[in-house]
């Protein structure tokens, strides 16, 4: 019998090692797996490379992971959301490295990484500073830049519903990067507000098939960044 459930967020992230590359789902607070991130802070791994669209707000979730100085590099499209001060402070102090990637290129690099495509050409960013130093080639009379797929050691994502086989559904715009990130890591860890037995989800509606998921953690009432920030919370 296949059962990918693990007992706690702590258990789920226990083997994340120093220097690991970790993909973290979310666009702003939508889809941010806060409980898994907080468990990673407790766990203590350092020197991480984090792949995520943003860098968190306030002093919780992704921002708290950065503030604890566990992250040496972020691969990111938009690191300066309103209410984010942790990343800007670290970046200006030269304490964190940034690889800035256009959002669609970031999505496609993760998709490619998970799909066994080592690199691809895109017209995005041609003629801009973000294409400097990259190989380029003309197709159909138009310049394209070569971008490489990204793989990670671990992916942390948030679903609204998962089953014991690791099939996942998402809530509205919380889906964002999670389906690609699930495919691109050696170990994919999902926190889900509801976990059901295999067979309880409509197979036609499944967004992330369980083959991409290794661990499922039941987090019944996931915290939201905005609510924690309004309450003035900080983690740990």
């Amino acid at each position: 019998m296949i059962d990918k459930r693990v007992g706690s967020a702590r258990e789920a992230v226990a083997d994340i090692f120093d220097g690991a590359t970790v993909m973290i789902g979310g666009f702003g607070e939508a889809g941010s797996p806060i409980e898994l991130i907080h468990a990673l802070i407790d766990q203590g791994a350092r020197g991480l490379t984090v792949v995520s669209n943003n860098t968190g707000t306030g002093l919780v979730g992704l921002a708290a992971l950065l503030r604890a100085e566990r992250v040496s590099k972020v691969i990111c499209s938009f690191p300066k959301t309103a209410g984010s001060t942790v990343f800007p402070d670290l970046y200006r102090a030269g304490r964190i490295e940034l690889e800035l990637v256009p959002q669609g290129t970031l999505a496609e690099r993760i998709r490619a990484g998970g799909a066994g495509i080592v690199a691809f050409y895109t017209p995005t960013a041609v003629g801009t500073p973000l294409a400097e130093g990259k190989e380029s080639r003309v197709f159909n009379n138009r310049e394209h830049v070569l971008e490489y797929g990204i793989r990670a050691d671990f992916t942390l994502i948030k679903g609204c519903k998962a089953d014991t086989h690791g099939n996942v559904l998402y809530h509205r715009t919380a889906r964002n990067f999670a389906p690609m990130m699930a495919t691109a890591a050696t170990v994919t860890i999902v926190q889900a507000a509801e976990v059901v037995e295999a067979g309880a989800l409509d197979p036609e509606a499944i967004v992330t098939p369980g083959i991409f998921v290794d661990r499922v953690v039941h987090v019944p009432s996931p915290a939201l960044e905005s609510a924690l920030n309004e309450a003035g919370a900080s983690y740990p």
Binding site: F27, G28, E29, A30, G31, N53, S77, F78, P79, K80, T81, A82, F87, P88, Y91, R92, L98, L100, V101, P102, Q103, G104, T105, L106, A107, E108, I110, R111, T122, P123, T124, A125, V126, G127, T128, P129, L130, Y170, H171, R172, T173, A174, R175, N176, F177, A178, P179, M180, V207, L224, S226, A227
Partner: protein
């Protein structure tokens, strides 16, 4: 509400003018900031379907407090609603819509637009700035028509329509048309070309505030 003043169009006036040029049934991505005003000025009898690149087609206006969902947001991370017929999708699918040329129109703000259609709208290149690009470079690379909605000059009075951009580019030769508080201006092979002046605005007034020559309608023929 008046949409024009002695100084040209208000922000809502620009949005209203721009919306007139969007055909019924268009799939449109509105950039963060001033372009979002377009959604409040859809002409009678037309429906636009709004794409927000974080993963929603059929985005609706801001929600009532009772319907507010922190995981139903737009690319500016503001809470929104969904219209009947809406669809959610992941980022790879969302940027397939963008890069694959499936959207009809992208409306973006600008720091600078050059006479050859180059756009700079993501960074001033200042040393202490935190670089952040989001989906802007994908939008200008992939969407067929790119409308820029902007004030004609900066707060300091410097032209935003220039011969060459001095800020880092978002894309090369990507802008189709510019809607400012003073005029509607096309980007053509011969440079900026006047489409329409805002009410009460003289051509010379616009040209003096523009960093490159503007061809008039008469001269375009």
């Amino acid at each position: 509400m008046t949409s024009a003043t002695a100084n040209g169009w208000t922000r809502d006036g620009i949005a209203k003018r721009l919306a007139q040029d969007i055909p019924n049934g268009s799939y449109v991505n509105l950039g963060i900031g001033i372009p979002e005003l377009v959604a409040s000025h859809v002409p009678e009898g037309r429906t636009f379907i709004y794409h927000t690149e974080n993963g929603l087609l059929g985005m609706g206006p801001s929600p009532a407090a009772s319907e507010s969902d922190p995981e139903l947001i737009n690319a500016g991370k503001r809470r929104v609603t969904m219209m009947p017929g809406a669809a959610f999708f992941d980022q790879a699918t969302s940027f397939a819509m963008i890069r694959g040329g499936h959207l009809d129109l992208s409306v973006l703000g600008a720091l600078q637009v050059a006479a050859n259609g180059d756009l700079a709208n993501w960074s001033t290149g200042a040393d202490d700035a935190i670089p952040a690009v989001g989906g802007a470079m994908d939008l200008v690379a992939g969407v067929k028509r790119v409308f820029v909605m902007t004030t004609h000059v900066t707060k300091e009075g410097e032209p935003k329509l220039v011969q060459h951009c001095t800020y880092p580019l978002t894309g090369r030769g990507v802008v189709t048309r510019i809607y400012s508080d003073l005029a509607v201006i096309d980007v053509t092979e011969r440079g900026f070309a006047l489409v329409e002046l805002a009410p009460g605005i003289a051509f010379d007034f616009v040209q003096e505030r523009t960093g490159a020559p503007i061809i008039t309608k008469h001269a375009r023929k």
